[in-house]
Symmetry: C2
Subunit: 209 residues, 2 copies
Amino acid sequence: MRHPPGMRAPPPATAERILDVAERLVQTQGYNGFSYADISAALRITKASLHYHFPTKAKLGLSLVLRYHDAFRSALEAIQKSVPDPRQKLRAYVQLYADVLRKDRLCLCGMLAAEQATLPKPMKAALNAFFDANERWLAGVLEEGRRSGTLHLEGPVVEEAQLLVAALEGAMLVARSYGDSKRFAAVAERVLAGILPPAPRLPKRVRQA
Amino acid sequence: MRHPPGMRAPPPATAERILDVAERLVQTQGYNGFSYADISAALRITKASLHYHFPTKAKLGLSLVLRYHDAFRSALEAIQKSVPDPRQKLRAYVQLYADVLRKDRLCLCGMLAAEQATLPKPMKAALNAFFDANERWLAGVLEEGRRSGTLHLEGPVVEEAQLLVAALEGAMLVARSYGDSKRFAAVAERVLAGILPPAPRLPKRVRQA
DNA sequence: GTCTATAACGAGATAGAC
DNA sequence: GTCTATCTCGTTATAGAC
């Protein structure tokens, strides 16, 4: 909390509201698919005012990536702190993606990675920092699971982590194209199945009671 | 071959050359990241001439997806005809993606799937047809491998197929962001490893001679 | 089929009043 | 901080000559 204790949180400052709208627009339409006019219409603020807060689209774009990375980092720290079991940590990680897709959005950085070639350099660098952090966090969880024997890993944890990120990013992309979030869930389950310990061969019968 | 036998192939017609350039531009910069001016500069033909061949950007975009799907279909048929082993079919499939990435491009339909919300309706429909065809083909290969015992499948083939497509699309996205094609290769190997029969536990020693 | 010329619009961005 | 007004440029697209 950045506001004094005992007081209600202040309404989000204009800059934050601009970022909120811009984030949604990038995640749904892409960096090259939205304009200041779109934000202006959504917030009912003139384009000139937007430029007061973010002088150029490049700076707005960079702010978006940095803020998104920050929020993700916080979410990962929260998981790390509150979820002890590595298997559950992975499920919580998958859920972060599912929450984004539920809003019919892509991962901000996945979307921007597609448009990579057209982005200002600082944004490109920030993108890769995001993916690096994700893979490091995942690799840590996987290593922990291997040591404790709760996860079943064939190869190096870094490659498992890369597969996870790739599969989840790709699954969001395709699932959203179909407007079918079950597609995402199916892929996520399947990729986790390759890491979670071999299933205990459930009998056909329902395991009721 | 659509030209008479015994003759050299004619130089590509203008429309095809336009599609070639536009395809590259979409795969690298996205549908919203290129303009008729870019094609005009690359081919040294005026924008007005481009409009003679493709009156609107929407029609150009649709032609791109249909042609890409056609080419992919041909490639899949060629694999089906010339490669007997399902395991090798999967490797050939992965290689199709690798060939695209080597040119620093994304799958055309993967890129467009990201921009989905901003695309004309006919393009969206054509996109999903592409993913459907891919998954059907893969599911067929996987089913074949399961029957012949050359592949090792845990769940339904459709879900395996969806994981494959998602992982490959996502791996291209991330690998290209890093400019590191080895990242793609690593993910591809790892996802295949979950399908190919369990490795024969190679000894540490090099299996030389 | 390709060109010149131009229309019509939307983009990112700035100046300066309030 | 937000506004009106404006600038400049790039965008898709068309008319009509060659």
